[in-house]
Symmetry: C2
Subunit: 192 residues, 2 copies
DNA sequence: AGCGATGTATACTGACCGGTATAGCTACTA
DNA sequence: TAGTAGCTATACCGGTCAGTATACATCGCT
């Protein structure tokens, strides 16, 4: 998380273009020369600011995670004061709008994990953190509904959630996220 | 599917080593020189047999798909003559043993999709075909149970299925596949 | 006997990989 | 006014990328 160190304008431009380049093409497929060219920055500047490509990859994931969390909380914690059951289902609405707007190629963190098999890669904590946050957030929402066995239910919803992202990106199930929300509703109502 | 053209011994060795190399390291991270060295084959032979790396990637996915389908059908269509409801749940047992034995880094097809954004890549049909087969197989199994709205239920089970693979590989949900099977049982029983 | 298929070994191409080096410019600030 | 942070421009490093070229050995088959 935390983008504390007040990026310079050139660094900011790098992180902006990298978001699209990495997500659209995959991480390995994008070289530092391409990043520098696309951001209108020299490689010297790029290495002065970030030190390595791996560090840029880490920041790419951390910033995407931050945007994603903002999106989710903005949808779920609308000022409308929805009840706890409704808030659980709003998670799937948040996923649906996110998929359409930003995620047509599937979860960026799952995709990054596919490309970064090294458990010690500096970007791995960002991947684990995003997944853990989604699971924890679901747990909190589920707990508020007073459902029986909230941890287990949250785990099931988490898997529906991740599966919906896969199904939507692979494009074999029409209306995937909406279907996942309906299934989530069933599981939820059965546990109340 | 279909590995018709009777591979030569050297070609067979290439396809054997490539399965492990591509799955463990990702596709971009494995060069043709590494493949040739690991298979004990010259690059000349490699290109005589396959023509391009992309063709090898396609065969890698097709052969993995074939093994996966054999695994699933062997588990689900055991000679024990289980009933249709039980056969649906056996799909998740098949996934559980597959994850432990062959899939610790998540679904090879989802991972490949992350690395191959080009819709015209020769390996893309293999990816789509695997996902379509799983969905179709679930649809058939669900239909046999006589459940209401079998297409919709199959779609939900498909998402639980894919989500369980993600959850297991990301390792935030203990007992992910077993939890997905329990959720699948709930959805199934609610539709009978 | 001869040919084609299958293979080895080695060397090469041009492009790109992540990362570094050197030199010079501008703007802010101590 | 001198220093420094941030930047551009260009050239370079060794290594690897996918793919090709050349030359030669071994085998089975007709």
């Amino acid at each position: 998380m935390s983008e504390q160190p007040a990026m310079t304008p050139a660094a900011e431009r790098v992180l902006e273009v990298v978001e699209k380049l990495f997500y659209d093409n995959g991480i390995h497929a994008v070289g530092v020369d391409m990043i520098a060219a696309e951001a209108g920055v020299t490689k010297k500047t790029l290495y002065d600011r970030f030190g390595s490509k791996d560090a840029i990859v880490r920041l790419y994931l951390e910033r995407r995670d931050a945007r994603w969390r903002e999106h989710v909380t903005a949808v779920v914690e609308q000022p409308g004061r929805f009840g706890p059951r409704r808030r659980v289902l709003l998670m799937f609405d948040a996923l649906e709008s996110w998929m359409a707007a930003e995620n047509p190629r599937g979860c960026a963190f799952v995709n990054a994990l596919a490309e970064l098999p090294d458990p010690d890669h500096p970007a791995r904590p960002a991947i684990a953190s995003e997944k853990q946050w989604v699971l924890d957030y679901l747990r909190r929402l589920v707990r508020d509904t007073g459902a029986r066995n909230p941890r287990k239910l949250a785990a099931s919803l988490f898997m529906l959630f991740e599966g919906a992202a896969v199904a939507a990106s692979v494009d074999v199930v029409p209306g995937a996220v909406a279907g996942a929300r309906d299934a989530a509703r069933q599981l939820l109502d059965a546990a109340l």
